[in-house]
Amino acid sequence: MSSRDQILTAVAQNQPPLTPLPEVPTFQLEAPDLVEKFSQVAVGIGSRVFRVKGYEEVQEILFHDFKANHRIISRVPELSSFADATLLEDRNRHQLANVDLAIVEAHFGVAENGACWVTEEVLGLRVVPFICQHLAILLPKDRLVPLMHDAYASIGSAEYGYGVFIAGPSKTADIEQSLVLGAHGPRTLTVFLMGQ
């Protein structure tokens, strides 16, 4: 008998009598203002948050820290004047190691934990939000949901090869519980909440 059949037989023999699968109850977020809640939590986990009207403001703010000689990548068409999208092919993935800033669009954000949902489709390459030194996420502010339950309701049965919730910059506290930002991924995360 193969290991597969052996395991499945043993599990079937030993599993307890069937108990019901509960429906996930309806949970509510107490904070009424999602933008406020999201911003507060995101800043608490080390993100920078800006409320902006449009792409020009995004560029203006980013240009405080990044100059023309920095390597900036993005697939967002509105940012093509200063961000490059040409190298986003799998065979070039290792060449992204010296990207200073990557800018990606998120599908939505979650107010309770400051996380943004992005998928392979918007990233172009899966490694983009990890390999860059700094990451910026664009998020229409009317696309905030209160809780993770609402997040999965939004995702529904969507098809994707890869998707990730990103909440803050890469971090570690493995050395004596001292928080250090910039473990292996981006050293900073800037979230732009877009909209009037």
Partner: protein
Amino acid sequence: MKTEPTKDHAALAHRFNQDEPRVNWHDETLWFIREKRDRAAFAIPDWELLRETASQIKFHTLSNLSQYLAQFEANAQANGITVHWAADAREHNQIVHSILQQHGVTQMVKSKSMLTEECHLNDYLEQHGIEVIDSDLGERIVQLAKEPPSHIVLPCIHLKKEEIGDIFHMHLGTQAGVADPQILTETARQHLRETFLTRKAALTGVNFAVAETGEFVVCTNEGNADMGAHLADVHIASMGIEKLIPRRADLGVFLRLLTRSATGQPITTYSSHFKMPRPGHELHLVLVDNGRSVQLGREDFRNSLKCIRCGACMNTCPVYRRSGGHSYQSAVAGPIGSILAPNLDMKKHADLPFASTLCGSCSNVCPVKIDIHNQLYKWRQVIVREGYADPKKTVGMKAMNLVLSSPKTFTLSGKAGRWFMKTVPFLVSNKMNPWYKHREMPQPPKESFGEWYRKNRKPHE
């Protein structure tokens, strides 16, 4: 690996306790994390409902596990994932090795996976000429120190930053005496970036696998699992068969609980959902039993398979905090490890269910409501029944049984005890008596309650 199977938990804990300031530091560091967990949990009014829901979902999954495993396999395969089955640790290691061999890989980068610790994968691969580099910072540190992790979430929580500075000085060329976490982390970042960019194969663990979609979720703060998996040509993910959940929507429940319970964060920085291989590349998933189906059949202990590996029970445990993770000599230490390990090897881990005060704090913080302290108590009975208990304990229990089962011997031994403690106290208050360790013996009373009662009772009562 520093394993000393001849010493039990109590002996290793005794050694850990020789350095009192260090024990206090260890204790306080872990309690600090427990407090962060409390603040995160108390901020959610429906926390208890979340725990109860998570517990029911997990128990339901266990009650239907064979069907969910088959469903998961079919969906994962339809997504293009290659699914492997491993009955035990050895088969798991062989499968991983054969995948690496097929691709001619001799160097692999690995993110955190307690399952691979349980299977001793690194040792196995090294014996077969394959170099493994652990990419989680804490795991890399203990790997360089040639130690196993002492905590499932915080692998090097037992080390002080000066010691980590010494390890980095020796292996990564930092200046002697540098102990600033910022500098040490930056050094590891540069060193491991080189590793990520040059490895053709990456192995990750799995936090949750979803039966209805065939996807799996990996949670990290550092981003190391993703750096490894997305840059390599081959991604291997190893998971215990108990990591399944039925629906994608169930992730909402578990991702809310996991990190709040583990570190007090609202969620890990990255919650990565792997559903299909990267176009043009291979994604392998190894489903591992290694004793889990046996534990599933133990009515008193199957609940332990609900565990989501948050580590909250360790951070709160008064014994773990004061004995350190290495004293458990098991990949998963602490209260949960003490109910999982005896299932794998009852003789080797017979000491672990006794490494507890049964205070129940572990059960109180467990996000999936495992009755950990009850199971510790039940394991003690199984271990004594099977003859694996510490002989000192067995002798003591037998003597106590003899004394307590006959009123005559009880009265007589009481008298003898009081006389000894009064007349020759050094006979009891010495190192030969384990009860005397860390305790003062009580002042012997002049008479027993029985003697007092016979003297003082009034005739009409």
